[in-house]
């Protein structure tokens, strides 16, 4: 519904954003794809030619690959589990009438605004340090042997750190969704004699299902590329090397660009599988 003139103006004004993003997407991706088929060691001989699918095969057959996949899945799954369960509970709690609701909300949201490196550093030193950390003091207070969190319980510790960071996100979105629930529906259910648990199961939970899906998908995409939290705490040791961190090590630490690029392509494919589901949901909402 517009004139030819405004349509061509629109194309022109859209061009910078589209061209930039197209370049941002295509140029590095094509380069990665190119490197992934080559033996490329910048510090040890440079580009040593085309090797076909060798990098792809070597990447998945290396002893580090499957453990890293497992670590990634445990990390993503663990964080998702914690954030959605506690997110729902917190959202329900915050939706109740109380004094100082605004302040509590702010307290709960705050971790999301803390930069990942600060989060990791504070947790690593001030809470999880086996000598001076707060947890060590608490353990000692109860006469227990302090735990060496980031070496004995390394993956679990990182899950806790990341979950703390993402819990506000889940809570905020679920709270928004709960608040959009028509209160008359709940009142009608109450009139129909449904007890609180049944009201939750039959009315609130179905209403939240879309928001929950969105939370899970968006978090998955961000969690798959968790980096700073591992970089600052364990540097990938003690079984905390995720797929992302493994690729980072191949590319920048051991400077095996060909191998790392093949890993990168795997990561792109993995992210795209999740993205397709997310896009479907977002797309459905676009017309509404």
């Amino acid at each position: 519904m517009a004139t030819q003139h405004s349509r061509s103006a629109a194309r022109l004004m859209m061009a910078p954003a589209v061209i930039l993003l197209l370049g941002w997407m295509l140029v590095p991706l094509v380069m990665t794809l190119w490197f992934s088929f080559r033996e490329y060691l910048p510090l040890r001989g440079g580009d040593m030619g085309f090797v076909g699918l060798e990098n792809y095969i070597r990447f998945v057959t290396s002893s580090a690959f499957w453990p890293s996949v497992q670590t990634t899945l445990v990390l993503v799954g663990g964080v998702l589990l914690i954030t959605t369960i506690f997110g729902i509970l917190l959202a329900l709690l915050l939706d109740q009438p109380m004094w100082g609701q605004g302040i509590v909300r702010i307290l709960v949201i705050a971790p999301f605004f803390v930069m990942p490196t600060v989060t990791a550093l504070v947790w690593k030193n001030m809470f999880m340090d086996p000598v001076n950390g707060l947890f060590a003091h608490i353990w000692k207070f109860f006469g227990a042997q302090p735990v060496e969190w980031l070496s004995q319980w390394s993956l679990f510790s990182i899950i806790i750190i990341v979950a703390w960071q993402w819990l506000p996100f889940a809570t905020l979105i679920l709270l928004t969704a709960i608040q959009s629930l028509d209160s008359e529906q709940l009142e009608a259910a109450e009139m129909d004699g449904a007890p609180p648990l049944k009201r939750f199961a039959y009315i609130i939970l179905p209403h939240l299902s879309r928001a929950l899906t969105v939370v899970v998908l968006i978090q998955t995409i961000f969690l798959l590329s968790i980096f700073a939290e591992i970089f600052v705490t364990t540097q990938g040791s003690f079984g905390t090397r995720t797929l992302t961190y493994l690729i980072y090590q191949r590319v920048l630490e051991s400077q095996n660009v060909g191998l790392g690029s093949a890993g990168g392509i795997y990561a792109v494919i993995l992210a795209n599988i999740v993205a397709i589901f997310l896009m479907r949901i977002v797309g459905k909402n676009l017309d509404a």
Partner: protein
């Protein structure tokens, strides 16, 4: 000056033809109303004249100049939108001054014109307010003010009264008519309300599915509708249309008779029926009468108060000289 000529103007959206080739002439100083049911293409036609949409083919001439590919701002037309489309972040004064500012007019001249428009429209006390602080009627006047300061060749109105409540609507209708008398500028007015069309227009253009059904003065349309559609659309309540023996008797496929051209009587007449719903308004009384062998009731208007009610037997006598006859294709037989 504001003579607008549409020459074989056609509009398609993709595969869909909204307006098949259409010719229309709007004389300078005329008040022309486009009327038709929703989706008939009347708003699209107005937007084509405004330049907010491209014509797919054909030509639009304004004062003899080809304006088909001229940008909206350069056509010398002003438009009042259904939602008023006021700029919410600007004061009334700035809203009215905006087109002048865009034309890079001198500030002194802008002030002079804004003040004079404001006094004409009774907006002077509100000049420093934001649109959000005004009532619906005042907003409407600001939108009109923004149009008149430009001294355009013609005004375009897109259903400007549909967002007002009934009482305000009647008042604004009069104000716009008075404005037209005073400015004597061409006005093109789109509405779906045939009462607005009848009361305001010099010339009514009845549209259906993008096709002009009839062009004429309000009373021409009332007295001699060119076809069944115009007959049914113009006039309130609607004209009664009868087929079958009553039509054949009069040598037509369909005959039409307006409610006000039927005389009801409790005792004698041409057609016998039974009163269904009766509406007693004081000034008028409307009966919905069920004739034998006919599903649809016939609407009858009686002047003043008439003491007949639901279930009563009623006799109807149509005024034969006011009877409209239509052929099988729905066209008028004269």
């Amino acid at each position: 000056m504001g003579r607008i000529v549409l020459d074989k103007v056609k509009k398609t959206f993709g595969e869909v033809t909204v307006i098949p080739p259409l010719d229309l002439e709007i004389e300078d100083g005329e008040f022309v109303v486009f009327v038709g049911p929703s989706g008939c293409g009347k708003s699209t036609l107005l937007r084509l004249i405004a330049g907010l949409e491209d014509v797919s083919s054909g030509q639009i001439r304004i004062d003899g100049q080809d304006a088909t590919n001229v940008a909206p701002a350069k056509r010398g037309l002003a438009m009042v939108f259904q939602s008023y489309a006021l700029y919410p972040h600007m004061s009334v004064r700035k809203n009215i001054a905006f087109p002048l500012k865009m034309a890079k007019m001198e500030q002194a001249e802008i002030d002079r014109r804004v003040d004079s428009a404001a006094s004409v429209l009774n907006l002077t006390p509100y000049l420093e307010r934001r649109p959000g602080q005004l009532s619906g009627g005042q907003r409407q006047r600001v939108a009109i003010g923004r149009a008149i300061v430009r001294e355009p060749a013609a005004f375009l109105f897109d259903e400007p009264l549909s967002n007002l409540d009934a009482a305000l609507r009647v008042g604004m209708r009069l104000e716009i008519s008075e404005l037209h008398k005073r400015l004597a500028t061409t006005m093109v007015y789109v509405t779906h309300d045939q009462v607005e069309a009848m009361t305001m227009a010099d010339k009514i253009v009845v549209l259906q599915a993008g096709v002009i059904e009839q062009v004429g003065s309000p009373l021409t349309l009332y007295h001699t509708p060119r076809n069944k559609f115009v007959a049914g659309f113009i006039g309130s309540p609607r004209m009664n249309l009868l087929e079958g023996p009553e039509a054949q008797k009069r040598g037509a496929h369909t005959v039409g008779i307006r409610p006000e051209h039927i005389t009801p009587s409790p005792t004698e007449g041409l057609w016998k029926g039974r009163v269904g719903v009766s509406e007693h308004l004081g000034s008028d009384t409307f009966f919905h009468v069920h004739l034998e062998g006919r599903d649809e009731p016939i609407t009858v208007r009686a002047g003043g108060e008439v003491d007949m009610h639901h279930g009563d037997t009623i006799w109807l006598t149509p005024d034969e000289s006011r009877m409209h006859r239509f052929d099988k294709a729905g066209l008028r037989i004269s």
